[in-house]
């Protein structure tokens, strides 16, 4: 093979997966002796991981032009084995705009989190092994979304599940880490087994594992066995996305895992589940034109959205709170994707991307707080903004984004979701979809409430004495957060560019299953659909920002001219002056901050029966959660049998 051949972009998908696995093997081969540098216990092995993730991102980034903009679908047969006797024999990768979209998200999150890990993991033991697992996890997820073969998808699911379980319990000394990993292992394995069962049932019938060929064969020949396989596969990928009823696992896993791994679990693993569900419903079984399937996805999405945001309101641990928000946002994605309209899919994917960015940022900020203070308990923290100003600003950007405050990216995508659901309601004349719009709008406000709680109890409010010596986190960690924060702002300010370059090609790919099948060399008579992305709403973030800046500038000039900034500053010999102390209404100066969990008493009081019910339901016992998984599988089977 000559060089020109090797640098052909058709090889890039396999390269991007390969560098990550190669990275893992090289790091493992380099032994586990910690380096002498206290700032980087993994030594050069951390740089290997960073290079691997950077290369992977580079390979995928260079595919944007051919796949996203020119609409090419890359089909790649390993070892040049292609179709023989009408059946796909070899292992294939197939990269359409949908795969590439998810792959780009994953590669970005993995790269940023690798930057963060270097300075974040300094206090841990066995850090070289951490990077081995890290690269395995990244490679597994990337392989999953780029694969053109359902059995390979299963293998990648196995790799990523086991790497994720091991990384969840990486800090074995953290309370609950092993328990969380065990729960994840049990339910995750049930999910993996469900996927394997589904794959077996499909292979037995169609004698092929190739996604494109299955997509070509299944829709015309639906029988009870395919429906059963569908139910198994759906539940399997649901466990990977942690959507209801698998959400408690996410909370435990995120609470215990290092923050850099939480980024991967929430930004990357859940996306792989969503990707799997889209591939199943839109491509393999092509059932999304049925109202019943739309109902199922939108219903589960809305339930996830609302249940998890209320669960988050009841949390008093920073990372567990973020974990529930993660599933709540995945609910948005699922509900939008389930609408089965082009605008809905585009909006859902946009939100999936934004979720990776802002949730990654928030988890990294939580990690920064944990790194410096040693706790994520909202009741114990407070007033850190004076000690960690940069982290505070970065956290606020993430919080505004997830809460859908204009002009950040969360607003741009949620805004499209509101329109998509309402348009769907009008088009299908079904008032149920209108309810989804309302739930989405209210959930957004509840999300804001929850992040007001975090900012008040962690970054603002009163500072407990033990955090007097807290310092800002090292530059490497701030850099990682800064990259994500910039991406949050940019993707929020240029929604048209983002949708034009990334999500609309992906949504077109979802609508155009025929092309996916023919690109792999099979004959399909599915017509190319007519795709439009018309929106009713208008939102021009750049113009709005421009006007706001002019208004701010005018106001600042007036304020400065009017001596607004002439503040009475406290001087050194002035400490006895009571006017600079907080007002306590004559009470003793005590630490009297309202605890994190109780901040929204007015809201929770009215919903107390609901919260009591949810509290009892989430018992934290793995047997219960396994039972939920079985019940969900049974329900899915019954539902598929009835409606398909």
């Amino acid at each position: 093979m000559n060089l020109a051949n090797m640098t052909d972009y058709h090889h890039f998908p396999i390269y991007s997966v390969m560098v990550l696995f190669l990275g893992a093997f090289i790091i493992a081969a380099c032994g586990s002796k910690p380096s002498k540098d206290p700032k980087n216990p993994a030594g050069f092995r951390a740089w290997i991981a960073l290079c691997a993730t950077a290369l992977s991102l580079f390979f995928l980034g260079s595919l944007v032009k051919p796949v996203m903009l020119e609409g090419e679908i890359i089909s790649y047969w390993m070892g040049s084995r292609a179709i023989a006797g009408g059946y796909a024999i070899g292992i294939a990768m197939e990269v359409d705009a949908l795969s590439l979209f998810f792959a780009l998200l994953i590669a970005t999150a993995v790269f940023v989190s690798a930057i963060y890990s270097i300075r974040y993991m300094v206090h841990d033991e066995c850090v070289p092994q951490y990077y081995v697992l890290y690269c395995m996890l990244a490679g597994g997820v990337l392989g999953l979304v780029l694969s053109g073969d359902i059995f390979n998808m299963f293998i990648m699911v196995e790799i990523l599940t086991f790497a994720a379980v091991a990384l969840t319990s990486f800090r074995t000394k953290v309370y609950g880490a092993l328990e969380a990993a065990f729960k994840y292992l049990v339910v995750g394995c049930m999910g993996s087994t469900a996927i394997l069962t589904g794959v077996i049932m499909l292979y037995a019938q169609y004698h092929t594992l190739n996604l494109a060929q299955l997509a070509n064969l299944i829709p015309g020949t639906m029988n009870n066995a395919t429906k059963l396989a569908f139910a198994f596969l759906y539940i399997g990928f649901s466990t990977k996305a942690f959507i209801v009823p698998f959400h408690p696992l996410a909370a435990d896993a995120h609470g215990a895992a290092p923050a850099s791994i939480s980024v991967l679990i929430s930004g990357v693993l859940t996306k792989s589940g969503i990707y799997g569900i889209i591939r199943l419903t839109y491509f393999l079984f092509q059932t999304m034109n049925l109202g019943s399937m739309q109902f199922m996805l939108v219903f589960i999405g809305s339930i996830s959205m609302f249940v998890c945001v209320t669960m988050a309101l009841a949390q008093h641990d920073f990372k567990r709170l973020l974990a529930y928000h993660s599933i709540s946002q995945i609910g948005y994605v699922l509900a939008a994707v389930g609408l089965s309209t082009s605008l809905g899919i585009s909006a859902g994917l946009y939100h999936a991307m934004n979720h990776t960015l802002f949730k990654g940022l928030l988890f990294l900020a939580a990690g920064a707080v944990l790194h410096e203070t040693g706790t994520t308990d909202l009741g114990k923290l407070g007033g850190l903004s004076k000690k960690m100003p940069h982290t505070t600003v970065l956290f606020l950007i993430g919080a505004f984004s997830i809460s859908g405050v204009p002009p950040f990216n969360g607003f741009a995508s949620k805004w499209m979701i509101y329109q998509a659901t309402y348009q769907k309601a009008v088009e299908s004349n079904n008032i149920g979809f209108l309810l989804v719009t309302v739930i989405a709008l209210v959930t957004s406000t509840l999300t804001l409430a929850s992040f007001v709680k975090v900012s008040q109890s962690v970054f603002f409010g009163q500072m407990p004495k033990e955090y007097e010596n807290v310092k800002e986190v090292p530059f490497g960690m701030r850099l990682a957060m800064g990259i994500l924060a910039c991406l949050c702002i940019v993707t929020g300010l240029f929604p048209k560019t983002v949708t034009g370059v990334l999500t609309e090609p992906a949504a077109r790919a979802v609508a155009n299953v025929g092309e996916y099948i023919t690109a792999m060399g099979f004959k399909s008579n599915l017509p190319a659909p007519n795709v439009t992305f018309a929106q009713v709403g208008v939102w021009e973030p750049i113009n709005w920002l421009l006007i706001l800046c002019i208004a701010l500038l005018a106001l600042t000039i007036v304020a400065v001219a009017g001596k607004y900034d002439r503040v009475s500053e406290r001087t050194e010999d002035d400490t006895v002056d009571t006017k600079y102390q907080l007002f306590y209404g004559g009470e003793k100066n005590v630490y009297s901050q309202v605890g994190g969990g109780d901040l929204f008493w007015g809201f929770k009081h009215n919903w107390r029966h609901y919260f009591d019910f949810m509290h009892n339901l989430h018992s934290g016992i793995v047997n219960d959660y396994a039972l939920w998984a079985v019940v969900a599988l049974a329900l899915a089977i019954v539902y598929m049998m009835i409606v398909l």
Binding site: P406, I431, S455, F460, G537, L548, A559, V594, H605
Partner: protein, 325 residues
């Protein structure tokens, strides 16, 4: 060409700074608050302050010493009021006055709903940055009030979008200027049967959003010392007071634009006066009168009230609009 761009720029600058931007917001908002205070006083058989009292208060506060508590995060504490005010004034630019909108085609009703969060959020962050426990309780209550008002507001706006969309034949209409245009052609939306409950619901949201009696639990000067403003003094406090005045103007003029559009002459100066007069009426009815006859609710009662009574009204409207009535 260059002169044209220059003139356009000057025109837009005029919109932002004078009408319907800062100067208009400042004068009209303060006047509304002054009228409100006078009316409440008269209803309670007091003499009340002069109508220009809010102006006097504002300038007096600007001259006072500004104290930043030692426990506060200085930058956020000082910047928050300014950002909140600027964001509010920008919203005012998107609300049509009769047929005229300073900046149309930039934000629609749902976006305006979310832009309204920014001033509230600025106030909350400023309060959080002060480090005061009173502010902590105040911001918690403010946030719950926002959640409480959000559901009815969303339902009202969706109902309006559906009603206008039905009439225009598109099924949906989010654009503020199209809603104004529709009302110019077909008369105010309030004349539609389905919009009456929505208008009542919106009217009930106004005191909640502006933090006026009986929904002023977040300020509650008698219990938690003005809550979020507990540690503010001098010019920043003056800016907060101004923001409150502008918010009264924004919400009442949004109410007028949504339900009483299409009343006017087509001459911008007169229309401004007419809209302001309607705002005064709305303030008198929904803020002053309600203020005078009610006592403060507890926060959980505020929440319950909005999510049951007011949301119920809005929902009736939405269902009626859905079935084309």
């Amino acid at each position: 060409m260059t002169a044209n761009i220059f003139l356009n720029g000057l025109q837009y600058l005029g919109y932002i700074l004078i009408f319907p931007g800062f100067l208009f917001c400042f004068l009209c908002g303060m006047l509304l608050v002054g009228i409100d205070r006078k009316l409440v006083a008269r209803m309670q058989k007091r003499v009340g302050p002069p109508i220009l009292q809010p102006f006097y208060d504002f300038f007096k506060l600007c001259g006072k010493e500004t104290i930043v508590p030692a426990a506060a995060e200085r930058t956020t504490f000082l910047v928050a009021p300014i950002v909140g005010l600027a964001a509010l004034v920008v919203i005012q630019l998107f609300i049509p006055i009769h047929g005229f909108t300073a900046f149309s085609g930039m934000a629609d009703i749902i976006v305006i709903l979310y832009l309204l969060l920014i001033p509230a959020l600025a106030a909350i962050l400023g309060a959080a940055a002060s480090g005061s426990p009173y502010a902590g309780i105040g911001l918690s209550r403010e946030m719950v009030t926002i959640i409480a008002c959000e559901l009815p507001l969303v339902l009202v706006l969706l109902a309006v979008a559906k009603t206008v969309g039905n009439a225009l034949g598109t099924g949906l209409c989010f654009s503020m200027s199209e809603i104004a245009e529709y009302q110019l052609q077909n008369g105010s939306l309030i004349t539609k049967l389905s919009m009456i409950p929505a208008a009542i619901a919106f009217a009930m949201v106004i005191p909640g959003e502006t933090g006026s009696h009986p929904f002023d639990t977040a300020e509650a000067e008698t219990e938690i010392c003005e809550g979020m403003h507990a540690e503010y003094s001098g010019a920043p406090l003056a800016v907060f007071k101004l923001s409150h005045a502008v918010k009264v103007l924004t919400l009442t003029s949004l109410f007028v634009a949504l339900f009483f559009g299409g009343i006017g002459t087509g001459i911008i100066a007169f229309d401004g006066v007419i809209v302001f007069a309607l705002c005064v009426v709305a303030t008198a009815l929904f803020i002053s009168f309600v203020h005078a006859v009610t006592a403060r609710l507890k926060i959980e009662q505020v929440f319950k009230y909005y999510w049951t009574v007011v949301s119920g009204l809005a929902l009736v409207s939405l269902v009626l609009a859905w079935y084309g009535m």
